[in-house]
Amino acid sequence: MKNNLAQRRLDRDWTQADLAQSLGVSRQTVISIERGRFDPSLPLAFLIAKTFGCTIEDVFTAE
């Protein structure tokens, strides 16, 4: 899956560590998701969408 997580994070001026702390996951998880090397679980995807006040489809798109 492709995603715009990095752009959304930067728009809020958050570091990867900030987002990781907010989501309750490791920083490596955020790095891997942003690079498209790790697809988050559905609950985590929902939490990411909720964190940014949008839907999952706004963040993640199928390649």
Binding site: V25, S26, Q28, T29, S32, R35, F38
Partner: protein
């Protein structure tokens, strides 16, 4: 937002407790190992101490220190590290299985007689090293 883990420290007494626990556990293991080999008590006790020191002090740190210094991920099971660990474990299992099959065939063909304890210790070491190296390789590849 800031990372609270960056400034977290355990009370000084907890570091001392961890060291004391590690020392006591190491000495206890050394005495037990030494007692089982009375002919070479000090050599056996020394080897036992060398083997026990790292895990004993690590356990002391885990019990008394890391609760204060390590931030627990609320959704650790959804972190990428768990995926890496599972991939490494699966790869290591196949490596150990393949190695065991090859060694068994070689030993059967050449009629080699090897102490079972040695074989088991080698397999334990191989599986642990394999899984560890695989984890590091997967992590390095993912974060590159």
């Amino acid at each position: 937002m800031s990372d609270p883990a960056a400034t977290r420290r355990a009370p000084a007494s907890h570091y001392m407790l961890a060291v004391a626990f590690g020392a006591v556990a190491t000495i206890a293991v050394a005495l037990v190992v030494g007692a089982t080999n009375p002919d070479d008590f000090w050599v056996a006790a020394g080897i036992g101490a060398l083997c026990a020191a790292y895990p004993a002090f690590s356990l002391g740190a885990r019990i008394f220190v890391t609760n204060h210094t390590v931030t627990v991920d609320a959704r650790g099971e959804e972190s990428v590290e768990l995926t890496w660990m599972r991939q490494a474990a699966a790869g290591a299992f196949l490596d150990v299985l393949l190695t065991t099959i090859i060694l068994a065939i070689v030993m059967m063909l050449w009629k080699l007689d090897v102490d079972a304890l040695v074989v088991l210790l080698v397999l334990i070491g191989l599986s642990a090293a394999d899984a560890g190296l695989r984890y590091l390789a997967i992590r390095r590849r993912a974060l590159r």
